[in-house]
Subunit: 338 residues, 2 copies
């Protein structure tokens, strides 16, 4: 049985001070991009304290590039987990890695959220083991905000759980709806179950059994949705297993690339279309911005006792700033008794 | 253990005469579009006999619209299966429906392939029950040809099988490769297993266990591919369970619509971009043609003793003509001893 813990009240903790831990290691652009993003966020949210997690000496050097801010400090973590390491082993053995140190700060209440652009596997494993699951949630899930014509759909799970029990899927609906309400300000978010048809008896075994669980929950469950409805502004939360979600998400990335490649080739084919392309450029620039993950922020890892944001590996300062914003908004809209 | 039955020889049956059954009922545009498509195909392939399946009186009226052709005839089927009927019941009870009559003609050797734009569920169920499976294939699968920058990827299964055993997935690789060789003329087609990462231990249970089966087969198995590689010209055949394939396929449909909608909105936003759009129009027209399912043909239902093509519900004459072409090419490139 699922109980929605969603409240229509927002802003409970607004302007209360709290801490966000930011992993400065593991991003493709190096620590300086992350530190710049953290400084931008620190300037924007003076009531939020940013804890930069990484090697002390290096970070002391980096922060000297900026005017001093009272809400920036360093949490020393000399080690780093590389993407090719086995997550379970790395989390167990690298106690002084930036991911483990950051997650432990959250566990100990020294930070209320964590942002990392490091190894996805290590972050998901570490977060589940160290921070622990939200009450009533069997498996945390990785969400991704996909831009639609008028807003966003939160697709989850995007890869944390391969084979899912029906109860996991139903809980993904719950944690996804909580996120869309708290962070995106959507009241009574519409939750859809990704499936191969609208009828409730359709689908694979997990989806068929998840349907009645979602229907019996307090969620605003609108039923099964097909693949074409994921981006059709039909739902705010689209639920599926992590295998399907990961394939769809990466397919979308590849598809944009293929389609834009085709458009480019055809536009450059004649003088007329070349001129057209030149004039149409501002329109394409706007679409690019709308699709830009840096504007959207990172992928929320939901169903934990605190929010963890997996920032894109190639995150720049803007992407990090927006990932921190996601944590700030989540904490501000969390009821104190949670 | 999978044995590839692919041969590098092609055209074994070229110019031998054979029959294709064409369901004239069930398409959204009515029988006249299907009949027109069949007449076009009959003119193009004079050695292939088209059997129009449907109500005799109506078809006699329809064919009078065209100059007489010796390779067109009627197979009387007074009944039709509607999309809302339960497939298993409809196939059992509607013995004189166009789908059952057409499939029985194939079963009896009176036709070597079948094209239908009717109910997908009834067609898949009926084809499996009436025509029967190819030797060594446990479950037939529905394929879809997706356009890439330089060619096509056959995605299968697109919805015939929800929960798949590893052996099903491995067999999808085999029947997909056969199709790409026979119909698309690709020698030694590259087969990829859709998964969440390149490493062979990744994925859900079915994919993890399918990997060694595919690796041990005679297929040109290139390993796991991620969602973004489906359209990247990395493989000729992309294998997954029917749940994932169906979601990806429909997501692609919805995504094109969303993206083109965004592009249109932005292009119409200013006079400059409007002018640009006008000039760039021929480029977009070319891409539209490349994405047009009518040019590509229907979805092959593979792994049966004969080929069945599920034509799009809204198929026009061109789409039907191309679906018939798929059957013709398949039969022509099938070795006589098969």
């Amino acid at each position: 049985m699922i109980k929605s813990t969603i409240s229509n009240d927002t802003g409970h903790n607004r302007h209360k001070s709290f801490d966000i831990a930011v992993d400065t290691m593991g991003g493709d652009l190096g620590p300086s991009a992350v530190v710049e993003g953290a400084f931008r966020a620190a300037a924007k949210y003076p009531h939020v304290h940013m804890k930069l997690v990484g090697p002390q000496d290096m970070l002391q050097y980096e922060i000297k590039k900026y005017p001093q801010l009272s809400n920036i400090s360093i949490l020393h973590a000399p080690d780093v987990i590389m993407p090719n390491e086995t997550p379970t082993i790395a989390i167990r053995e690298k106690k002084t890695s930036s991911i483990v140190v950051g997650l432990r700060a959250v566990k100990l209440g020294e930070a209320q959220g964590f942002v990392s652009a490091g190894s996805t596997g290590a972050l998901l494993t570490g977060a589940t083991v160290i921070i622990g699951r939200e009450k009533g949630i069997e498996r945390p899930a990785l969400g991704t905000l996909l831009p639609t014509a008028t807003g966003f759909t939160l697709l989850l799970d995007c890869g944390a759980n391969m084979d899912c029990k029906p109860s996991y899927l139903a809980q993904f609906g719950q944690i996804g709806a909580e996120y869309m309400q708290r962070v995106m300000g959507i009241s009574n978010p519409r939750v859809g179950l990704i499936n191969v048809g609208a009828e409730d008896e359709k689908g694979n075994e997990a989806a068929k059994e998840a349907f009645p669980l979602l229907a019996a929950s307090n969620l605003n469950f609108i039923g099964n949705i097909e693949g074409r409805e994921i981006l059709a502004d039909a739902v705010d939360v689209a639920v599926c297993d992590g295998f399907t979600g990961n394939v769809v998400l990466k397919f979308a990335e590849g598809f944009v690339k293929t389609l834009l490649g085709m458009i480019k080739t055809e536009l450059l084919a004649t003088t007329r279309t070349k001129l057209g392309a030149m004039l149409a450029k501002p329109a394409f620039a706007k679409i690019k911005t709308r699709m830009d993950y840096r504007e959207i922020g990172g992928a929320p890892f939901l169903g934990l006792k605190s929010l963890v944001i997996k920032a894109h590996g190639s995150s720049d300062a803007l992407a990090i700033q927006n990932a921190i914003r996601q944590c700030v908004t989540f904490v501000e809209n969390t009821k104190s008794e949670d």
